[in-house]
């Protein structure tokens, strides 16, 4: 095996609550992630999966341990604009059209206008919103808004795509459709993806490995390899192999 691209060593996160009490959100997290890997962080609410993602993204500082990405700190990676983040809500800026929302991070990075225009067109094509570029966010459905969020994250051509329950607010049909679309986008772009979810089938469908976290305190309770063949289509959800993986992960929760 190569040197892992992302090395998470003994990461812990303790929150101080107002009354002086301490809440241990994460304890003793050790995880190596390979280049181009699709990793899911799976667990119930309060297991610290989002906290872990935010630590990797340099949106939070861990109280102990360290994250190293290609030998650099998350902050250095962030300053080089190598993260693309998709949040739980689409976080579109209401005053910007779809195109200008996708454009926003590139403006900040100082990418030339011509290049931006080309990339926006390409990204909207990729997420299936070619004809919606000049719409405002309020004119789009929830699923479409989330696609814009994905296009925006991909547009800056990040090396790491960090996704925090991006489809959790969507209905099951839209979610499965977007799962499939996400895999097809991933196979074309070959980013390293860290995907936070509380949905077991979703994590199995998408991932190379599922990192199962359990709460109180947040810790890794299992890492499950998903050796289902790729490319995967939604029909794979009906196979017994898929079902076995889902069952295995579900049992790992019952064990804790």
């Amino acid at each position: 095996m190569n040197t892992p691209e992302i090395q998470i060593k003994n990461v812990g996160m303790v929150y101080q609550v107002n009354n002086g009490e301490e809440i241990v959100a994460l304890t003793d997290i050790n995880l190596d992630i390979q280049e181009g890997e699709f990793i899911s962080l799976l667990g119930p609410s309060g297991c610290g999966k989002t906290t872990l993602l935010r630590i990797i993204a340099d949106l939070l500082q861990p109280t102990s341990g360290s994250v190293s990405i290609r030998g650099q700190s998350p902050k250095e990676i962030r300053m080089q604009h190598k993260y693309g983040i998709v949040f739980q809500s689409p976080v579109l800026y209401d005053w910007r059209t779809v195109r200008r929302n996708v454009c926003m991070p590139m403006e900040i990075m100082g990418i030339p206008k011509k290049e931006r225009t080309a990339r926006i067109t390409r990204m909207l094509e990729l997420v299936g919103l070619r004809d919606f570029g000049n719409k405002y966010p309020f004119e789009l459905s929830g699923g479409m808004q989330q696609r814009v969020g994905i296009a925006r994250a991909l547009a800056l051509d990040p090396e790491f795509l960090l996704m925090d329950e991006p489809f959790s607010a969507l209905d099951e049909f839209t979610r499965e459709k977007l799962n499939e679309d996400l895999l097809s986008i991933w196979s074309k772009t070959k980013k390293t993806v860290i995907f936070v979810t509380h949905n077991i089938p979703e994590s199995v469908f998408l991932s190379d490995r599922v990192v199962v976290l359990s709460p109180h305190p947040g810790r890794i309770s299992a890492i499950v390899d998903i050796d289902l063949p790729r490319p995967r289509q939604n029909s794979i959800r009906e196979t017994s192999e898929f079902y076995e993986h889902v069952t295995k992960i579900r049992r790992s929760f019952e064990g804790v």
Binding site: L59, Y83, Q88, V91, E107, I108, Y136
Partner: protein, 255 residues
Amino acid sequence: MKNKVINLLWPLAFGVAIILLWQFGIFHKLLDLKPFQLPVPSEIASTLAANLPKTLHDCGVTISGALIGLIIGSFMGFMIAAMATFFPKWGYGGMIVVTALNAVPIVALSPIMNLWFSTGMAQKIGVVTVVCMAAMAINAYSGLNNLKPHSIDLMYSVAANKWTIFKKLRVPNSLPYIFTASKINIASSIIAAIISEYFASSTSGLGFGIKDNLRKAEMAMGWSYIVVASLAGVILYCIILLVERDAIKWHASQK
């Protein structure tokens, strides 16, 4: 389209009914008023027509003072909100002071300001500025800081600095709030300007016109000034609405 017409028709019919009831003395009977206490609409209209140039000139004096005060006050209010956003520790205290200022009644402020400024115009602008500053500061501060969850994270994740966040996120986010403040301020700036004229030694302006004519028992003339003041307020309010509709067509209030 049909709905729009009906929506417009009802208030219009209501307004006409009020004027008719007023014209034919029903209000006078109900409230036991004599015609010299409450002139009828036709008398007000003819008085206004006869004195239109003078009334419009006085209206211009008041409105120009109100608008200058509105612009200065709104600008200062926004700057206070911006400072409070950039320097939260200091800004919080500043916002408390502004909120307190907002609670000071114009009637109390006006005579005091009268002592500070030598001209009626400066005093008027001063009062209007203070009144408008508070509403703008409070609203703009909300607009600059009530951001959607994660929208700052998004900026942070692409290494945007504070100034970029201000320019590309906070300012556009605050636009609907700024329009709300402007709509409040349009009305209150005219009120503040008129009230300040009551207390000033000025000899022009709507406030002076109302005060002077009521003192001389020229009720119809006094009412003419009230009509002009109302119309000016409505027109300015409509202008703000039109600008708002164009400037924030992406906002929920405009759908």
